[in-house]
Symmetry: D2
Subunit: 351 residues, 4 copies
């Protein structure tokens, strides 16, 4: 008999597939309900074939409060804007803890939200601190006591983890240039021209260069972590793999900064962190973390030039796990007072 009950609102996407998988094998949390606006009455395996025979649950059309009924926690796999309409009702009409995978409550800056997500925010008052940004490496204690967790974006998680050591050490100041390369699962479950296999399988292209909606999320978070007058120029690139993000961020540090100093900053930033690795003999790579909740970080420091040095900060994650549902499960475990790593310790398959 499991101690906690959970339900998922918006259960037909890839993020939800990963949430469902994790809860189905969770020792303490029972999945009691999955709501969706599509596939009503169909088994979960109709959309998630890997769940064939693993559960008798079917997609249900439910009001948010009905979806949450009797649950200790509700996880939202809804699109941006939709989540923002559901969360207020859950806060008002239920006692359930909420873990939201959407971008609707990650920002505190309403203007930034409206600029990058477009249109009005349905619940602007909630941006003023109602949610905790669900990055355990930065906000673990706050997450533990949070009612509402805004789980980080996939690019944002990757880029923030790569730069967090510099921010925490007071070494991150001014503009950063970042290229984040992502697999196709980040585009979601709906087929589009840019995820059509004949083209995607041999393509590299950018989209939303210098205007991706994760930019303000990254800036707010790193500034809160210690970055000064921080700004990011971010270019996302689509690559032909299914899972994984690799990011490269160029920052400028003082000429006096040595590799040893940077290594100390990385060690200090992630001391005791179970899911962030600093490989000793190699740089981060996607294949090492794909299929797991682990992130890998590393750096290369350039020569002294005009009083400063350029450091290239690297990070790699699985966009659907540490960059999405896995990190959401970390937050679910935390808000329920459970071991943060439940269902997430598996290093995943390789290759």
């Amino acid at each position: 008999m499991k101690r906690f009950k959970a339900s998922i609102i918006g259960g037909s996407g890839y993020g939800a597939a990963e949430l469902i998988r994790r809860i189905l094998i969770h020792p303490e949390v029972e999945l009691v309900r999955v709501s969706s606006i599509d596939y009503i009455g169909e088994p979960l395996s109709a959309v998630h074939p890997h769940l064939e025979g693993r559960t008798d649950l079917r997609f249900e059309k439910l009001e948010p409060e009905d979806a949450a009924a009797g649950c200790d926690v509700v996880l939202l796999g809804l699109p941006h804007k939709v989540a923002a309409n559901v969360v207020p009702r859950l806060l008002e009409k239920t006692q359930a803890k909420i873990v939201d995978l959407s971008g609707d409550f990650r920002l505190r800056d309403l203007a930034a939200y409206e600029q990058y997500y477009g249109g009005k925010h349905p619940a602007p008052d909630l941006l003023k601190g109602a949610a905790v940004y669900g990055l355990p490496e930065l906000n673990r204690d706050a997450i533990r006591s949070a009612r509402l967790v805004a789980s980080p974006g996939c690019f944002a998680t990757t880029i923030i983890l790569g730069l967090l050591p510099l921010a925490k050490a007071g070494l991150l100041e001014g503009a950063v240039e970042t290229v984040g390369i992502t697999g196709s699962s980040g585009s979601g479950i709906t087929p589009t021209a840019t995820t059509h296999h004949p083209v995607r399988a041999q393509n590299l292209r950018t989209y939303k260069p210098l205007s991706h909606q994760h930019m303000p999320e990254i800036s707010e978070t790193l500034t809160a972590a210690g970055a000064k007058s921080f700004g990011i120029h971010f270019v996302p690139v689509s690559a032909p793999l299914t899972r994984g993000i690799f990011s490269t961020s160029f920052a400028r540090v003082d000429a006096s900064v040595t590799p040893e100093r940077l290594a100390e900053a990385y060690a200090a930033a992630f001391e005791g962190e179970r899911f962030v690795r600093r490989p000793k003999k190699r740089l981060p790579e996607v294949a090492a973390v794909s299929g797991s909740n682990y992130a890998e970080v590393g750096f290369e420091l350039g020569p002294v030039e005009e009083g400063h040095r350029t450091v290239a900060c690297f990070s790699a994650i699985d966009n659907l796990i540490k960059g999405g549902a896995g990190q959401g499960i970390q937050s679910m475990n935390l808000v329920l007072g459970l071991d943060e790593g439940l269902t997430l310790e598996d290093p995943g398959g390789y290759p």
Copy 2:
């Protein structure tokens, strides 16, 4: 404190990587030792990057009996021919149960072994029943009480599971034609011309057509399960994916056989089997089982022609899990008297 101790002999390959991963997250079995002839003294993550920070174990150069010292079970990730030299020493000098992932003890027919694997068998006497063929769906009870388990081959597992219902129902007689399509991880960890990404990524080719070493393994097993005067014409094909095997076998059944009769045979053959799925609304596919220990089976029955009908039997697995180390873990759990599914219930990630 875990109840059982295990060691791995031959720990540097992909099969061993999957064995190590499973035992590291196993609730009842502790990994105490990993031997190898390469990477002596290096951490496991030197070869298996996904294990970075997950274990302090290092590769050790050990005699078989030393590798097995104090262990309840030893798992072999050795190449063919090498395993055949290690197993006799383990049988003689230790009490440990043995799960061998190699092909050295799968056959009972010495002549077939020498024809398909080449050269002499180092321990021919052991072919006469010393090992139990580790397919739980066929030999579960025998595996439970076995000292030595010969874990099935990847193609063999796929093809056997697809035809097992016909064999058990007495519907499998005479020649079968099979095409098995495999991902590149089946070729192992050593780079070769046929796994070189620039070519493999856009290639389809056959190798060992009508002469693959899994043919006698398939024939012996299906004959033992009820097939009559069975013979297989097997064409393996390499495809550009990392994990997974999809097999199509053409068999001829009596004209009186109906789809309902075949559905009954499939249901009967796999009733209560946790890791074999018969999807109701679709045919088997690799993406649904990739990353998990599940197999999917299905069939399509052709029209009546000259007194018979042709049935196409389909099956899909992950070659490294159900087709390799995962199935080996199933046998390990069984020989230790544990729940067969420990560490294997995870449906895996999708996509």
Copy 3:
């Protein structure tokens, strides 16, 4: 000044993209017009990005006879059923030669068309010999003098070329079992769930097993070439590559047939054929023909069993070139009295 003028009806698909590419670099044929029901008024590069800056042509909405006006040849890149409505008007109202890439005029058996393509055929009378089946290796002379060429299907081309030597040598009799594995470009330009990169990139699955519409096309053609009481059990499989088809066909020949006899049959069947290769030291593979109009064929002969031997016939092509538009260009060259190989001699890039 090029000697001939061509237009394309139905110019927005992958087949059309290959037709346009070839004609743009053709020394004797000028592309004067491309019609489409979509993208009217837009440059061809709006759909075919590789044509950026290569032509000023734009998609036009045109009646068939207007599309054909002043043209020596019209190439059809239309879907099945649509082509069948256009061809009669072109035959009636124009003098242009017609090369149709659709399946509408490949069959002579009306019942088979209605069974495999569904519904009624818009111009059933034309099935009675109005079209020449555009496989140069079988019908070269007839193509030269044809008014209407029905260009073969991608699977059909692959499978027929692999079995043609047996048919011509009188060695092909009775049932054949075939597995054809295809890349994703065969599914066309419209994104669907089965071509969605996150899933397709790691999937192997079958569709239309034992019921694919190319089956009657293969039977009619091989029977015309000499096969006796021929029948095919065909299982198509989708694989994660963009271009290429690899097919394996199992046939039974008399026990007296030797590898030498089969080699003679293959040599005789393709003597002087520029685009069909019989590699001496390896079996056919997709990577060797991908990006070119070449086909590769080969075989493996099994042991004597019960008075016969089983032969596995292999073939590989690029589905969009030899299996589609490239073969269509071969026919265009032939109907115009040109060198059959114009624009097709390029062996393509490797890897």
Copy 4:
């Protein structure tokens, strides 16, 4: 009867495969000889399967001057360091024009060569202007009259073309940060751990960050084109595709620079260039140029920040064609006084 004769020294690699393909279909140049230190006496198709049946040439072991005998041009597909030993002998003992695909003669700065390529240069005097850097968009006239052409590197070509408009317009000053993402064919024909399909197919990783040997080549070339106090921080990333490079370079321009001004600079830099495209309605992508000699360039201009704006410059090419052998053929055509585009006009297949 073709007007010119060519031979290739170092014919067993991917670059050579592309050179051979082009010359085999070249209207004016005949391939008379291919030398190699491996595969002596074997047909070219033993290594290059797409050439099966296309030529009777075999690999020959030849002294450089013998390889060049009677040839108007010699193309070198040799590794770095090896080419540097062959070129002086060709210059001394033959009259043939030389197109070298290696990096041995691209730099003028001997110290940079020794730092980035390691060890001593075998012919340092030749670095002082003996070779013309084979980028037609920059050095067309010099190439026409060159005896020795040093064909550019793959990353260098991509990055230089993306930044050339800024350099020529006097807008490129100071440090640039670049991420270049490459397909696996750039690693060459020899299988390695980083091109092993099981891992490469789902990996993103960096190598030689901030220390890649193309950095001085890029700096020398862009400085010669007008860049001031230019420096590059370059991070190469490996991605799971076979062909293609996509590069993103971040440069800082004055706050007064507008998108229109940059568009003018791009238009001016590539006016009349047949192989450099500036798509109007999209940004550069690999799929549009893969399989062709075309490059695509584009940019995105950021907002005004502290007196400057950051511009992200994008470019995409096929690493083996415009980034390698195709560009080498452009130079071959130029040194022979032929139309630069012979055999290169094909827009390639899509997808």
